[in-house]
């Protein structure tokens, strides 16, 4: 096993439940690199929701909560408020974060509580058998939309920025180096950090939505569907119509929630 795996993973939980070629493992590996470079494993608290991506914290030998469907962010809020020194990182899926836990997500953005939410977006409900998700593309064929998805997908990053998140980035599982850098920036960011990672799901997205693509082909497909933020600025709008922008999309510094709580409870004279 990779030396980082030897150092940070719970061996008795391996092998991972991820299917061969799943992007979640790549994200786990990029996250371990970020944790190793920052040296914060003792202060790290991980929270996972339900879904394949919610299993990522279970494999890391740090403080871990594996909680109710969609409720990862409320549990993480509790963790952060009771122990503001903790570095809280939430791993959640697109269904877990935007459908079942959508309201929790926007309110955590609004509060600007210091935590990192990593949303792994595979555009489908992978674990339960390939149902249509709020991030499934328009006209995508899934198990529950056999004639094509009539709905429009969510843009999670735009939602996060509009709701008040202070660090928003989007990468894909085909950009592991950039992902590690984004994890480090997000963990050190004093406020609500949101990272959307576009991942491949060869078992469900590959089979139903893309007509039988395997993991390497799916990864190439994802890479072809994105364009860097800097490059997008110089492209004409018609070329950007079916592209998703990646990069660090938004950063700002605003009063953080636990800091605001502390000021209120200590009474700073305002």
């Amino acid at each position: 096993m990779h030396p980082l795996g030897e150092k940070y993973l719970r061996k008795h939980t391996l092998p991972t439940i991820f299917c061969p070629g799943c992007g979640d493992g790549t994200v786990l590996s990029a996250f371990l690199r970020a944790v190793d470079e920052l040296g914060i494993i003792d202060r790290l608290a991980l929270v996972g929701g339900i879904g394949c991506s919610g299993w990522i914290p279970v494999y890391v030998n740090a403080d871990t909560l594996h909680v109710l469907h969609g409720r990862a962010i409320p549990f993480a809020t509790g963790l952060k408020v009771t122990g503001p020194d903790r570095k809280v990182v939430v791993f959640t899926g697109d269904g877990d974060c935007l459908a079942i836990g959508g309201n929790h997500f926007i309110h955590a953005c609004r509060r600007n509580i210091d935590m990192t939410v990593v949303m792994l977006n595979n555009a489908i409900y992978g674990m339960t058998g390939g149902q249509v998700a709020p991030t499934s593309p328009h006209r995508a064929r899934t198990q529950t939309s056999p004639y094509g998805n009539p709905e429009m997908p969510f843009d999670a990053c735009k939602l996060a920025i509009a709701a008040g998140a202070t660090y928003v980035a989007r990468w894909t599982s085909g950009h592991p180096r950039q992902l590690t850098r984004a994890f480090k920036e997000a963990i050190m960011h004093p406020g609500f950090a949101f990272i959307e990672v576009l991942t491949q799901c060869p078992t469900q997205t590959g089979r139903y939505m893309k007509g039988g693509l395997d993991a390497p082909a799916l990864l190439k497909d994802i890479r072809a569907s994105v364009v860097g933020k800097e490059r997008a600025a110089s492209l004409p709008p018609e070329e950007l119509a079916d592209k998703v922008q990646i990069g660090t999309l938004h950063t700002e510094i605003r009063l953080e929630f636990t800091e605001a709580l502390r000021r209120l409870s200590e009474g700073d004279g305002k």
């Binding site: 096993m1 990779h2 030396p3 980082l4 795996g5 993973l9 391996l14 092998p15 991972t16 991820f18 299917c19 061969p20 070629g21 799943c22 992007g23 979640d24 493992g25 790549t26 786990l28 590996s29 990029a30 371990l32 599982s173 085909g174 592991p176 180096r177 060869p202 395997d214 993991a215 390497p216 990864l219 190439k220």
Partner: protein, 74 residues
């Protein structure tokens, strides 16, 4: 010389290391591990530039780039 070392216990045979290698160092070995997954193998070690793309992309942390002698030891 650094080459990719493959941990046959944890490999799930997804083939991402083979397709992501920019120099075509890796290929299928024709062997299977205990779980029945097809295993990759280093086929052209002299082409490896130790860019670590295989190591970074592997979803199962089953590959890492290291000195050839260290590889055999582990």
């Amino acid at each position: 010389m650094k080459i990719p070392c493959i941990d046959e216990t944890w490999c799930k045979g997804c083939g991402l290391c083979i397709s992501e290698c920019p120099r075509g160092v890796l290929g299928w070995s024709g062997k299977r591990n205990r779980r029945g997954y097809n295993l990759p193998a280093v086929q052209q070690p002299e082409k490896c530039t130790a860019c670590r793309m295989c190591e970074l992309i592997c979803p199962d942390l089953a590959i890492y780039v290291e000195e050839e002698e260290q590889c055999a030891k582990r």
